[in-house]
Symmetry: C2
Amino acid sequence: MANSATTTAAVPSTAERILDAAEDLFAEKGYSATSLGDVADRVGIRSPSLYNHFKNKEALYEAVLERLLADFSAPLAELNGGPVTNERVFSWLETIVRQHHANPNLARLLQHAALSGGPHTNELIDRLFRPMFQSDARIDGDSITLFRDTGLQPWAVMAFNNLVMSYVTMAPMYRDLLGQDPFSEEALENQLNLIKMLLLAVFEYKGSSPSAT
Amino acid sequence: MANSATTTAAVPSTAERILDAAEDLFAEKGYSATSLGDVADRVGIRSPSLYNHFKNKEALYEAVLERLLADFSAPLAELNGGPVTNERVFSWLETIVRQHHANPNLARLLQHAALSGGPHTNELIDRLFRPMFQSDARIDGDSITLFRDTGLQPWAVMAFNNLVMSYVTMAPMYRDLLGQDPFSEEALENQLNLIKMLLLAVFEYKGSSPSAT
DNA sequence: AGGGGCAATGTGAATAATCGCGCCTCTTAA
DNA sequence: TTAAGAGGCGCGATTATTCACATTGCCCCT
């Protein structure tokens, strides 16, 4: 079977190993603070060799983003593919929680982009979040009386998104603070239960909005 | 001569102007990505002059942290000064929301520290969050049945904290996404209402936990 | 009153390290 | 043989930091 067709799929190619290393480093330090030397070191090559695979630093960053976006856009597209019911919101939230838990790098990268900018930040926003508010993907129906009349809907959606993402971006702090690995299986279940309960509480909340100022 | 030195009531000293500039830049770009040249440029002096006021870059960063912590530790200390009732939790949350709204730099700095580390990160955690879980500052009483038996209490507290902080760290993204200034007065009221309603929903939620069934 | 120190605060120049990046050569496998 | 990939080398820019100076205002001694 040593055919000379293509041997790229079986063993991770150098380009893929560069992408892996760059993704981790960009997520940790942000775009500008990440040096190509660091990336090359982690791959085990010299930094000039990176230019055999990517045009320059920005192209590498772009490739990292592209790969991440391909994975993370799917659940939202699927949610937008049908009516937004409570169960579908539940399952959407559970999916993205598990996704961010399995790979925290997109959330971290996004947080860096929100704080410091960097290349392709606008594209990042457009492809990850804009579809939430442009299509019919608004939480509607008879179940949510909480946000209907106060104009909080987009903010509420973003709040739940923040809940998921900040869990990941703050994870190193939690490790120290609570003495538990935030990416363990039990921590994932904890996080899922907490978010589910919050969402349930919101769904079932029938009280009046706090008009007191 | 082209100096816009309209000296108001209190003339900020050079050291204070350096602190102001450094705080903004550290919050935006993080510790390592902020250059002393940038800081000096914003103050209007040359970078070697910074060394007349601070020993080195790390000492400057430390001074920035110290000034921020002095402001932001007060509400938590006050909450810990008495029994943790619902109303006191409400008012604590409102206070920190308003504080982060008035000065978003601590949240941004903290997010950078959580992502990339940097000097004094552990001290930052200790002084801002550790007191929440070391003293009696746990949400107790008969009102919160939601988290009592599932061991989620610390995670729930941090979740609300994240809600507040990620609003700030994600603000630039919101500006683009929702077409509204996240730091306007109305946006502040929105954010306050949303968090209050979430907290209320949690307080009044009487359903069974999903894992208990 | 006058001037000699002196600390505080600014500056430009210089240094060593690191950065992104491109040119060129060598190795290796089909 | 050939071409892709890895590495050596170095350029130019930027970094934090130090140093030698210039300038200012203030205290003290005569």
